[in-house]
Amino acid sequence: MGNQVISRTTIGGTVEPQQAIRGGLVLRSVGKVALTATPLFAYFFLWAPILLLVLFSFNDSRSVSSWGGFTLRWYENIFAGTMGGEARFATSLMLNALGNTLLVALVSTLIATVIGTMVALSLARAPLPGKKLIDSLLYLPVVIPEITQGVSLAIFFGLVFSFIESQTGVRATPGFGSIIIGHVVFNISYVAIVVAARLANMNPRLEEAARDLGANRFQTFLRITLPLILPGVISGALLALTLSMDDLVVTFFNAGVGTTTLPMFVHGLIKTSVTPEVNALSTLMLLFSTLIVGLSLILQNRNTDRPIAR
């Protein structure tokens, strides 16, 4: 790995004193070891906890430090209803949370993908006033800490709900609506950023050509622009879907009774207990993320196979 970097140094060495050469060689061997060891250690660090978690989910012992043989019973427990005698954990609650998560993720992804793609198109193609400002606004939800977003939105909804109650007497409560609204906020940003990157690689002349050939604006969008940016839109949507399904903080502050999502459910579970069933549940979630990553990588490779005409 290092030999390309160091191939020419000896030329300089002929004119330098011996001391400097020796110093350089020591430096090089230290650097070489560090440059190989650090990445290997980093990979180990990134993967060991995940692999151990998967391993212990098949461990036929409640211990999380010794191996007691292979079993699938923790997985069976998850689907059978109760977990290690804890009545709190019911399969129906988990499936309910999963359903809530999917509902929130799908709806917020759909809204954010449409709105985010629109704003990316507008920024890339239209002579818009205050473009820089809009651009910064789009990046802001990505960089403002989640906890601030979650709390501020919850405070906002608190005010709105009490205003509605004072005006109409109808008692509104946080629920799916408030969660979805919060997820759309950060998802708009991610979709817009991904789609904008795709648009930046696309030749605007293709659209001009379509217009010259008599297509109206809508036809141009549908038959030229959309097919070309579609991979970007899809990977933006997949990113939004994953972020939404994984989000705990914004959801946590804006959920109501009966709208517990899977991350909230899992958070409650792991905060109090470390059990083999939680390991099994975590492994299933890992498997799911791996599938999504695989899918998006396949899509991205398709992108590079078919470069956009320039």
Binding site: M1, I6, A42, P145, I147, S152, I181, I188, D246, S282
Partner: protein
């Protein structure tokens, strides 16, 4: 014929219409709530746990007085986390860029990206399993006879830092990787032909050119680290209490909403300061 020619007027109107939903959504559900938080931070807690007048700086006084310890801890932990991620992340990104085959490069990158896409809770939970009193680390250290009593690893500042480095290392690697993959390694050869040793070539040539990636990576680690809530909630206990947990506590029924708002505002100011540094040094030239 005339219908096909787009006037700048009409394309401007359609541009505004296309941008409008996003602007309205972000304005109403993102900027306005932040503004409300700013206003709340100057108010007082009422009897019922809500907010009341008069306007006061009292909350900010408490932030810089009573709670400065926690703020300081958050800044320290986020800073150290960023440095550790940088020290581990730069060689890792270099390692990936220097893979010869395209498959090797893809695979090395995939090994970093996959943990990044897996559920944050699950990854944090893995450390709860490892660091516990009966966890693998304690039991193997005791098995090896290095310690006799289990170490208190969980619910410490150390555990929070470990969890943050673990969670955010990919955020550091990816932008540095992007910078390094655009870097022309012949520059290194040129520097060495001119008599620079490896260290000088790195310090004076490679690092300055890849600095935008480094700064971007540092931002992507520092900002979520300073606002951490989940990691410190699961791994930190009271010893590893961070500003995010404090804000969360103020939001509960017995909490002090204006104080939580003031804490949020001060945290955002720190984030803004970090972003200012990014705008100054993080842009590609």
């Amino acid at each position: 014929m005339a219908a096909r020619v787009t006037s700048p007027e009409s394309s401007r109107t359609s541009g505004i219409l296309l941008a409008l939903p996003a602007l309205l959504w972000l304005g109403l559900f993102f900027l306005l709530p932040l503004l409300i938080v700013l206003v709340f931070s100057f108010l007082t807690r009422s009897q019922g746990g809500q907010v009341a007048l008069p306007f006061t700086f009292a909350q900010y006084e408490r932030v810089f007085d009573t709670f400065w310890v926690v703020m300081q801890r958050s800044i320290n932990v986020a800073f150290v986390t960023t440095i550790i991620c940088l020290i581990a992340g730069y060689p890792l990104a270099y390692f990936i860029v220097r893979r010869r085959s395209s498959f090797g490069k893809q695979f090395a990158l995939f090994l970093v990206i996959l943990p990044f896409w897996t559920n944050f809770l699950v990854r944090t939970y893995a450390w709860r399993v490892l660091l516990g009193r009966e966890g693998l680390i304690n039991s193997s250290l005791m098995g090896a006879g290095i310690i006799t009593e289990p170490l208190e690893l969980l619910n410490t500042e150390f555990a929070v830092m470990l969890g943050l480095v673990y969670g955010f290392l990919p955020f550091m690697v990816l932008p540095i990787y992007a910078s390094l993959s655009r870097f022309d390694f012949r520059f290194i050869e040129a520097a060495q032909d001119l008599g620079a040793n490896d260290w000088t070539a790195f310090w004076r040539v490679m690092l300055p050119i890849t600095l935008p990636g480094v700064v971007a990576g540092c931002m992507l680690v520092f900002i979520p680290a300073i606002g951490t809530f989940v990691t410190s909630d699961l791994l930190g206990g009271t010893q590893g209490l961070m500003i995010g947990n404090l804000i969360h506590a103020q939001y509960s029924r017995s909490g002090n909403l204006p104080l939580g708002a003031a804490l949020s505002v001060v945290m955002m100011l720190v984030v803004m300061a970090a972003l200012f540094i990014y705008a100054r040094f993080g842009r590609e030239k």
